[in-house]
């Protein structure tokens, strides 16, 4: 892995089978991201899945937080994610039977943190939900749910935060507020942000913008952040 890089993809390819034969959806992708950097990928969530160790590449290698993912089994990758990675999803992915604070506690509990409740409450207060700690997801608006998801992703102070279309299910105003919060949280820590989005305006708020075309990655000149 290139020195000081927190995330690196080397000749990453992913092939899937289709009725018309094998289909290459990620082709020879290589790039590296340094600590604290924000990068937008305008393209497929498949690449995010490969980078986060949720899926395995057909060929190539991903280094995450100094470790080659191919050397880790499923549980090893899970442990690495628990220690170093946070996620924000388009459809929030909150657990319906848990309250807001319990959803935020979840990654801390999995990491064995004893102060999970206090840390989760504090984080929810940072995202403006101090009054919603004990509300269930169904009692929260879309924007509030995504704030809970942001709090959950950030509470463990991850090295890398993967965000998959974080504003995709929100109206423009709410989406803008969430994006603002996402970048604020990212700026306040040394977390690397990897944002997968089709929203080019949002993408350009990142330090770098990569776009996928026919499975191959191309870097655009960034305008923001």
């Amino acid at each position: 892995m290139t020195r000081d890089m927190v995330l690196e993809a080397r000749s990453l390819s992913k092939q899937v089978s289709s009725p018309d034969g094998p289909l290459t959806i990620v082709r020879e992708v290589s790039f590296a991201v340094s600590p604290g950097e924000s990068i937008a990928i305008a393209g497929k969530s498949t690449l995010l899945a490969l980078l986060a160790g949720l899926d395995s590449p057909t060929s190539g290698e991903v280094w995450l937080a100094g470790k080659p993912l191919s050397s880790l089994d499923e549980d090893g990758r899970a442990r690495l994610r628990a220690a170093r990675v946070g996620f924000v999803f388009q459809s929030f992915h909150l657990i319906a039977s848990l309250t807001a604070v319990e959803n935020v506690m979840l990654p801390l509990e999995l990491a064995g943190r004893r102060d999970a409740r206090a840390a989760a409450s504090q984080m929810l207060a940072r995202v403006g939900l101090a009054q919603r700690l004990h509300h269930y997801p169904r009692q929260l608006s879309g924007g509030e749910q995504q704030r809970v998801a942001l709090a959950r992703a950030s509470v463990g102070q991850p090295t890398v935060l993967f965000a998959d279309e974080p504003t995709g299910n929100l109206d423009t105003t709410t989406g803008e507020r969430i994006a603002q919060l996402l970048f604020e949280l990212n700026a306040g820590s040394n977390t690397t942000l990897v944002l997968v989005t089709h929203d080019l305006a949002l993408a350009h708020r990142c330090g770098r913008v990569l776009t996928m075309e026919a499975g191959a990655l191309r870097e655009l000149e960034a305008a923001g952040a």
Binding site: S45, L48, A49, A52, L54, D55, E74, D75, A78, R79, R81, A82, A83, V85, F87, F89, H93, I95, A96, S97, L98, E102, L106, P107, E109, L110, A111, G112, R152, D164
Partner: protein, 427 residues
């Protein structure tokens, strides 16, 4: 410990959301149905066993036509068992010129080891319980013998060459048979008076009995020892031999009740399987998310197992409590059919209930829940991905058979269980 904490928290949250209610209620009903029958059968079994023990006046009775070797009694005493000897013979008892053929029973202190003697001051009176036996030089004729010989308390009877003073009238003894075989009236005397009575002569038809009583463990140990040291001329009698009719009726009734409770268990098993599958369907996304956030397969598995164990434990405690209360109600309903008060139930049915709850969860819920451990984390991005569905029948069939076997075997009462399992509780 972390996984246990996680499991208990998750269980509390699931409980709060009501998602486990059907599974839990099904489990409670199954345990309640089983333990209600179990407690009832257990109490009836104990009552029958006690009754049978009283017929023997002991838990174990060794009989022989020749004197029983002393080492047999000594070994029983070494094991902590209570012992007594009874020597019986038919002999003519004289009072002056009047005589009557009697079943003479010479006993040692402690007789009877099970059941009670009742005595009175005159024949056919209401007896009072005594723990004593006739002293040396004393005789206790039963009401029939006393009436036939016209003797009362204070009178004298000639038993063989000895004159014995009547100090009590024997009203009842536990080992008096209700069959016509025991046609002669009885006389109880102290074994020490046999010597010099001339009752034991070469060719006399004497029956020697060694009575033993005590906890199940030593009794079982003694049986094992006895099998190795029996001389061949003796016969070992236990509660299973004492009253086979009662045992058969009790066994048939218990089997019927066990089968009825198994139907309830079967219905609950279906409910458990259905609710577990529905639970899994609802939790595929949550588990995929947990894996994405860092839960390993082992974490998901141990959290699932802890949850099942906790569920089984709580359902067993509550189910057993409901079962116990139901059994009290059953006893009340059946009061007219039962003779006297039933002894208290043991904890055994509650333990069987817990075992069955665990087995049912293992057979009907675990296969579905294990599916959760195989959910790929990638499902958070691709909802079409799921873990392969379990082959439920593969786990459920052996579990059903095991539950059937356990319940059928465990609820199988006296005497079959006693004779097989070396005297379960003071069975």
């Amino acid at each position: 410990m972390l996984n246990l904490r996680l499991a208990l928290r998750a269980l509390r949250r699931e409980w709060r959301s009501g998602e486990l209610a059907l599974l839990w209620v099904s489990l409670c009903i199954a345990v309640a149905a089983l333990t209600a029958v179990g407690f009832l059968v257990d109490r009836i079994g104990h009552a029958v066993t006690l009754q049978a023990s009283e017929i023997l006046a002991a838990d174990l009775r060794i009989e022989s036509v020749s004197p029983i070797p002393r080492d047999q009694q000594q070994h029983a005493q070494q094991l902590g068992l209570r012992t007594a000897r009874v020597t019986t013979m038919l002999s003519a008892i004289f009072r002056g010129n009047t005589n009557e053929l009697a079943d003479v029973r010479a006993v040692t202190a402690g007789y009877p080891l099970r059941g009670q003697l009742t005595v009175a001051d005159r024949p056919f009176a209401t007896g009072t319980v005594t723990t004593a036996i006739p002293g040396r030089g004393e005789a206790w004729p039963d009401s029939r013998l006393a009436a036939a010989l016209g003797v009362g308390v204070g009178g004298e009877l000639d038993v063989g060459l000895r004159a014995l003073r009547v100090t009590r009238i024997l009203i009842s003894r536990p080992d008096q048979s209700s069959t016509f075989v025991e046609f002669a009236p009885a006389l109880l005397m102290n074994e020490a008076d046999l010597a010099g009575s001339g009752l034991i002569q070469p060719g006399s038809r004497i029956n020697y009995a060694l009575l033993l009583a005590g906890p199940a463990g030593p009794i079982s140990a003694y049986r094992s020892w006895y099998r190795r040291h029996a001389t061949g001329s003796e016969r070992l009698a236990d509660v299973a031999d004492a009253s086979p009719q009662i045992g058969d009726a009790s066994r048939r009734a218990s089997r019927f009740l066990a089968l009825a409770s198994l139907v309830a268990v079967l219905l609950c098993a279906v409910a458990i399987a259905l609710s577990a599958r529905s639970y899994v369907r609802r939790h595929l996304d949550a588990v995929a998310l947990m894996k994405t956030l860092g839960a390993t397969r082992r974490t998901v598995l141990t959290v699932t197992l802890w949850q099942l164990l906790s569920l089984a434990l709580v359902a067993s405690v509550i189910g057993a409590a409901v079962g116990y209360v139901t059994q009290l109600w059953l006893v009340r309903v059946l009061r007219g059919l039962l003779r006297g008060d039933l002894p208290a139930a043991s904890a055994w049915p509650a333990l069987v209930g817990f075992g069955v709850a665990l087995a049912m969860l293992a057979g009907f819920a675990l296969p579905s829940l294990l599916q959760l451990t195989r959910v790929p984390a990638l499902r958070v991005l691709r909802r079409d991905i799921a873990a392969p569905a379990p082959a439920l029948w593969l786990a459920a069939t052996p579990v059903l058979l095991a539950v059937f076997g356990v319940v059928y075997g465990a609820w199988l009462p006296w005497p079959a269980r006693c004779s097989r399992s070396a005297w379960a509780a003071p069975c």
